[in-house]
Amino acid sequence: MSALLIRNGHLIDPAAGVDGHRDILLKDGRVAEIAAAGKLKPTNGTESLDAAGLTVAPGLIDIHVHLREPGQGYKETIATGTAAAAAGGFTAVAAMPNTSPVNDSAEVTRWMLAPERGAHVRVYPIAAATRGSKGESINDFAALKSAGAVAVTDDGHPILKDSVMRETLTAAARVGLSVIQHAEDTRLTQGASMNAGPMAFKLGLRGMPPEAESSLVERDIRLVTELRDARSHLHVAHTSTAGAMAAVRQARRNGLRVTCEVAPHHFLLTEEHVGFYNTNAKMNPPLRSAADRDAMIEGILDGIVDAIATDHAPHATHEKEVEFENAPNGITGLETALGLCLLWLHKEWKLPLGRVLSLLSAQPAALLGLKGRGTLAVGSFADVVVFDPKAEWIYRAKETRSKAHNTPFDGWTMQGKVRWTISEGRVAYASA
């Protein structure tokens, strides 16, 4: 395999404590050498990228995406989803199991990882916790782990039964897998299509109360507490309510291994952005109140939040061009996450660049135990994002690499333009 030299860039590697001008040599899919800028010279057969004026960082890691394969290739494929990931600076994505069939077997997990899928970046399957994600009988976690699964979840079909959730936490802890919960007490959200509150009343839509999320997070934390197993890890997916954030904060204070992620739309937008029934502002959990949004920002700035995850959820255009209550939940996110995080978290709200990048790489890698990812220390995977931190640009959904255009951020200003995304030493994306 050929080598690739990235010269004169500003390397920010929070996990390795590096923040300065460096040359970085990638060889055979790994980081081979790091030296002061100008020290490394390209030898024969070494391709070279000039990163002067650019930021070089560990490739971004999104631990919550929907790649729709197997079964829903008309929405997205592993190839198109990972192409969008690469365009957004991501070099690893963890794919949710709500596919068709549900990824509840080693067979499906292996199918997703096969080279024929044409993935542009590394895919980590997250397997279903229960058979068919029906919340009744748990799957063989050891088999799923050896097939390549990095965590278990029933995602959009949260595990409501205490006994099943307890069994899931116990079994996952035994084999060293994280349990991810989409926290929604679906008994409280039947027929609802946005956040419960004055906006839902005004629009004549049934609302999802914030308690549907926070009560399940509290229940899960109680189960983790009762288990008293240091190996058990509960991860709260797409946290959206102040109540859930407070519960995670308290759990951490109590020394529990409870982590959470927040999606860019939940720290930027509120239920007001639904406007007049914009189906590209419809997702689950829904956009919440301004107080909830502020609690997400606080959680990020305070360090309670462990990862920014997009919940990239592509849908075909015709599926979203319907009555609001009939539209499927979800928005795309892979191409807009970095630009939004840099503009809002870093530039507007002054979170140091290293911490923003950590939330998008080192911390999610640590959270799911993705070895050799999320850092550019010598010997790590050669997963790199090179971006122009100063560039402001406008996101155009019609230019996306994803199959889907369902984003509320079409036409929004982004900060930081990805120049190259390098996945295990190969250039997976290069901007024109």
């Binding site: 839509l205 007001e272 305070d302 309670i304 009555e323 609001f324």
Partner: protein, 344 residues
């Protein structure tokens, strides 16, 4: 994982991204919400309604002669459909009715495709009744035609609010020429019943306070959440029906919308005891108030037959005002947009 912060969160002063301005309505002839109308536009519609109502039918039917009006109805309707149709025909327009039960909608055609098909057939405006809140916005965005909202789900029913306003004015201010922000100052309108599921309630509570009226909402918590007062200014809640009646010059009764209860159960006997408008209640607490109802009425449930047929009832007058208001609204939809006065 990072170390958890142990200190309580500190509120920082942050500026989040603004909410983008609404692109609606795309077409100045559309009437999606009562909020699309300025007070001047409401005033103009009321004036045109009176003028058109009194015009010689043989002159009136030249106003929209052979213009094409489509009625697209996804829900059953007696009053709204018939009065829109009579209004359009009264102005000389050709009308066509498409209903979900006798069209390709049954075969799975979407609202967008149905709208584009009607436009291709020459429809110049579409009057839409739909069981999903927000459907008129989807239709307008897809077709860019003037879309008239004839009731969308639990959301709005703007022409009902306009005809209710005309009914109220006919009794309280019979000689009024133009309306203003204090035309209904000192007037309390109580809306009683299933507020949560009512598009009539939403349109009225958004329109009447803009003329200075106080809107009092009355009903059990199941049908009337506290946050309803947040819908707009001039809205309050009074759970005690008798206390609400005592303050009111107008009382609007609403039907319990069984089709929208979504599994909720209600104790009808208890409901009637608290909220049914009876002759006794009316005589004791609001002997001169106007009794209104958007229909369909369920005699013996939200109001007694005696009240429905009684001297204070203006329920059938409302129906009559509906034709005049809808003539003005259809005329506005098809007016040359360059000469239109009705757009907010």
């Amino acid at each position: 994982m990072t170390a958890a912060a142990t200190a309580p969160p500190v509120r920082r002063h942050l500026h989040p991204p603004p909410v983008p301005a609404s692109p609606f309505p795309y077409n100045p002839g559309s009437l999606l919400s009562v909020q699309d109308l300025t007070l001047e536009a409401v005033s103009h519609l009321l004036a045109r309604a009176s003028l058109l109502e009194n015009l010689d039918p043989l002159l009136r039917d030249r106003i929209l002669l052979k213009r094409r009006v489509a009625l697209l109805f996804y829900e059953s309707s007696t009053r709204t459909r018939t009065s829109f149709e009579l209004a359009a025909k009264g102005l000389g327009a050709d009308t066509t009715l498409v209903s979900n039960l006798s069209s390709s909608i049954e075969k799975g055609e979407t609202l967008k495709d149905t709208g584009l098909t009607l436009r291709a057939l020459g429809a110049e405006t579409i009057i839409l009744r739909h069981n999903s809140s927000g459907a008129p916005w989807l239709l307008e965005e897809a077709t860019r035609l003037p879309v008239l909202n004839a009731g969308d789900g639990m959301h709005e029913h703007p022409t009902q609010a306009l005809l209710d306003l005309r009914t109220i004015l006919a009794h309280l201010h019979p000689r009024i020429e133009a309306i203003s922000a204090d035309t209904l100052a000192g007037v309390t309108v109580t809306i009683t019943g299933d507020i949560l599921h009512s598009r009539v309630a939403r349109s009225n509570m958004l329109l009447l306070p803009r003329l200075g009226a106080r809107v009092v909402l009355c009903g059990p918590a199941q049908f009337l959440p506290e946050l309803a007062t947040g819908a707009g200014p001039g809205i309050s809640i009074e759970r005690d029906f008798d206390a609400a009646l005592q303050q009111s010059q107008v009382v609007m009764m609403l039907r319990i919308q069984a089709e929208r209860l979504a599994g909720q159960r209600i104790d009808l006997e208890q409901y009637k005891a608290s909220y049914q408008l009876t002759g006794q209640r009316l005589a004791a607490h609001a002997p001169s108030a106007l009794v209104m109802h958007p229909g369909p009425i369920i005699r013996g449930l939200e109001l007694t037959a005696g009240v429905a047929d009684g001297s204070q009832s203006v329920i059938l007058e409302q129906v009559r005002h509906g034709v005049a208001i809808r003539m003005a609204v259809v005329e506005r939809a098809l007016a040359d947009s360059s000469t239109k006065a009705g757009c907010a």
